[in-house]
């Protein structure tokens, strides 16, 4: 019956360009590769003394964080600044919505400020998608994490990390370990890895944290970490939230670490040249041993610096997608106005 806008297509212009960045799901290999290539080119500008490029000059970017996250917010802020945009940080978590203002009220207020882009983090899955459907045409939405649904910029910086350290994603065996159930990062990674041609995606954890439906997304489920690590090229560890114990999903941190914590010993089961990743912030001794986090195979700190380049890339692409869509619409309006005028004459 009623079929509403496909969440994966809302983010594209009619000619398939990125205009919002809401999810990695449904994006083509070409588009994901374009993001990675552009991010790669920004990495070289980041190593220069003058780091700014003028792609977003005169544009206003609003960081709309309904959930606190200093780190993600700072990298978006830095990315916007390096693109020469003006940036406004709004800490909604502690202001408007707690006074009973609805999300729609907040949005209308912000639109009145003529912003060009919202970077949104929200606790509800689908929030960024909802905002993208509500905002005035021309305003780009970048999803900085919505509930358990998606965290596409994190996933893309992870793809960039894999590509830079392993040469490519194609043919690689990637394992994701930990709290898959609550992880928007894992979902976005799985979609991107699948599209970019990973050989095998494995998710590892206890059944309380690994929904069996993950198989429908194309991941193989392992409950035994030793088995899951065998032959892995990339090991991605997820952060374990303390609430999981009180929610009766796990007995204790100790038992979790024993079964699913990454130690040097366990890492030996993966391929020799495997890399270790983590979206951060890490819980040392809970999901990962310090020796591994700081070890030779760890690329955790590289991930952080690639994060800025990836965010620059998607912001630049979305803004340019919006501009081209606006131009196309204006053209069409002009054409139809002309047609109208000619029609009247005839």
């Amino acid at each position: 019956m009623t079929r509403h806008s496909d969440p994966t297509q809302v983010q594209l212009t009619a000619d398939g360009r990125l205009k919002h960045f809401l999810t990695t799901e449904g994006l083509s290999k070409e588009l994901l590769t374009e993001i990675l290539d552009l991010a790669d080119s920004f990495i070289s500008t980041q190593e220069r003394a003058v780091k700014k490029v003028p792609l977003l000059r005169g544009k206003t970017v609003v960081n709309l964080f309904f959930e606190n996250s200093t780190r993600t917010r700072s990298t978006f802020e830095l990315a916007a600044k390096r693109l020469s945009a003006d940036i406004l940080n709004l800490d909604i978590a502690s202001s408007a919505t707690s006074k009973g203002e609805t999300l729609m009220d907040t949005l209308w207020n912000l639109e009145a400020m003529y912003s060009d882009m919202f970077v949104v983090r929200h606790a509800d899955s689908g929030a960024a998608h909802f905002i993208a459907e509500q905002v005035t045409p021309g305003v780009a939405i970048i999803n900085a994490g919505d509930g358990r649904h998606a965290h596409p910029t994190q996933a893309m910086l992870d793809m960039l990390t894999i590509r830079r350290h392993k040469g490519s994603i194609e043919g690689k065996t990637v394992v994701i370990v930990g709290d898959i159930l609550h992880s928007r990062v894992a979902r976005s990674q799985i979609h991107a890895l699948k599209t970019l041609g990973a050989k095998e995606i494995r998710v590892i954890g206890p059944a309380t944290l690994v929904p069996k439906e993950m198989a429908d997304l194309g991941a193989n489920i392992y409950y035994d970490m030793e088995q899951g690590l065998a032959g892995a090229d990339v090991v991605i560890m997820l952060r374990l939230q303390k609430e999981r114990m009180s929610d009766a999903l796990l007995p204790s941190e100790g038992e979790y670490f024993k079964l699913y914590g990454l130690t040097e010993e366990k890492l030996k089961l993966a391929n020799k040249d495997a890399i270790v990743m983590h979206p951060g912030p890490i819980n040392r001794g809970v999901e990962i041993d310090s020796a591994v986090a700081d070890g030779e195979q760890s690329v955790i700190l590289n991930q952080v610096s690639y994060g800025i380049a990836v965010r620059m890339a998607v912001m630049a692409m979305a803004m340019s997608g919006q501009a081209s869509e606006q131009a196309t619409q204006k053209n069409e309006e002009n054409l139809s106005a002309e047609a109208q005028a000619t029609g009247d004459d005839a």
């Binding site: 019956m1 009623t2 079929r3 496909d6 509800d124 689908g126 439906e213």
Partner: protein, 415 residues
């Protein structure tokens, strides 16, 4: 109502084994004659049905109505002659005074008949019994706790024992709220992909199993409202076969839509119970076609702000009354529902559940609807009478246009 003769109506009433082109005579609100077309002398006004379908007026076992005048008017236009409204209105219907207040608004509105369902527990809080006997005396045809949880199995047992003592029909929902936790939609591949917390099938079936055992123990008359899982149909079927005095209904949404409709995070499809899998939908349809399940609207009009939010934050519910009959006719058109079973599930079975006269019978008050099943209706927010524009069929063109609705012997709608 003055006398009225309906002519050339394609009468279909499986309860009376009626299926022919007929004339129906109504005098002073009572059906006085039913004959093959042209065989009776007409009385009073004539209404030529032009071979449109004439069926018993629909009976909705579960709606949520606060604006009585508007919503009963939507019901009248929708071909519904009787609507039961759940007690979770403002104020909650848990005293005889609340019941009489609704009865008065309904009488004043003079639209389709509205029957208030009284609360099973005080304030619907699930721990203390409401004055169940007084509510029955005040005119509640049945009592329900809406979908509010009952504190524990012991309170539930007491409710059932007390209901059995006074022969009160109770309407129950099957949901273990610990198991459904903060779930927002059916637990399955779509919920996992969208990152929305799921409500597992077992949240319904575990609760249903427990309640069936308690019904067996207490011997009360019970009806299960809005079951959503295929497995529940089988449990109801075998409990009935065992001889339990139980019945059940399914919301039209669960017969038309599945969890996949939530793709796109469309908050219109945020409902309780949740839309489940295609397999569940098929089994529920089979339950209706087998005569096991009634169909209810589960009408929940919401204002725009309540739905304009991310999926999880939006309120659950769909506005249905305006389009209920058209939605069911669409299932008939698709070959998923037999027309006779549509009538059975939305008019005959509900009457039997409530213990009132079923179908179109000589000597009884007329409750009927004439619907043109060939004309299409396009649903738009402006066209809906209900205050709730949260309809799942906005922008859709569905078959069926109601021509005439008679409720309790009163003409309440004519196109």
């Amino acid at each position: 109502m003055s006398n009225l003769t309906l002519t050339h109506a394609q009468l279909l009433d499986p309860s009376q084994k009626l299926k022919q082109l007929s004339d129906v005579i109504i005098e002073n609100g009572l059906v006085t004659n039913i004959t093959p077309v042209g065989e009776s002398t007409s009385k009073g006004d004539k209404f030529d049905a032009h071979s449109a379908l004439l069926i018993p007026g629909l009976i909705d076992l579960s709606a949520h109505i606060s604006n009585v005048a508007t919503e009963t008017s939507a019901a009248a236009k929708g071909g519904i002659s009787l609507v039961c409204t759940q007690p979770n209105s403002k104020p909650i219907i848990d005293t005889p005074a609340d019941v009489s207040s609704i009865q008065q608004s309904s009488a004043a509105a003079n639209n389709s008949q509205l029957l208030p369902l009284g609360a099973l527990t005080q304030g619907l809080e699930g721990d203390q019994l409401a004055n169940m006997h007084s509510l029955k005396q005040a005119g509640c045809i049945a009592l329900s706790n809406a979908r509010a949880p009952i504190k524990n199995a012991l309170v539930l047992r007491r409710i059932m024992e007390y209901a059995a003592t006074h022969d009160i029909l109770i309407m129950l929902t099957a949901e273990d709220y610990d198991l459904s936790a903060n779930g927002k939609m059916h637990e399955g591949p779509t919920a996992n992909r969208l990152g929305l917390a799921g409500i597992a099938e077992v949240a319904e079936t575990a609760s249903l199993a427990q309640q069936l055992l308690l019904i067996e123990l207490t011997g009360c008359r019970a009806h299960f409202s809005q079951i959503s899982c295929g497995r529940s149909v089988e449990m109801i079927r075998s409990a009935q076969a065992q001889g339990l005095a139980i019945s059940a209904d399914v919301a039209i949404a669960n017969l038309m839509f599945t969890d996949e409709d939530v793709n796109g995070f469309d908050s219109t499809f945020h409902v309780q119970p949740p839309l489940r899998s295609e397999q569940d939908r098929q089994t529920l349809l089979a339950g209706v076609n087998d005569g096991i399940l009634a169909i209810c609207s589960n009408h929940q009009p919401k204002d725009i702000a309540a739905k304009k939010a991310p999926f999880a934050a939006a309120e659950a519910g769909m506005s249905i009354l305006d389009s209920w009959l058209s939605m069911m006719l669409t299932l008939v058109q698709k070959g998923e529902l037999e027309l006779e079973m549509l009538v059975n599930a939305s008019a005959i079975l509900p009457a039997k559940v409530l213990g009132i006269n079923a179908g179109i019978q000589i000597g009884q008050a007329a409750n009927l609807v004439i619907v043109d099943t060939t004309t299409e209706t396009c649903y738009s927010a402006e066209k809906l009478i209900s205050t709730g524009k949260n309809s799942p069929v906005l922008g859709e063109t569905l078959v069926g246009e109601v021509k005439l609705t008679i409720s309790g012997g009163r003409e309440v709608f004519r196109a």
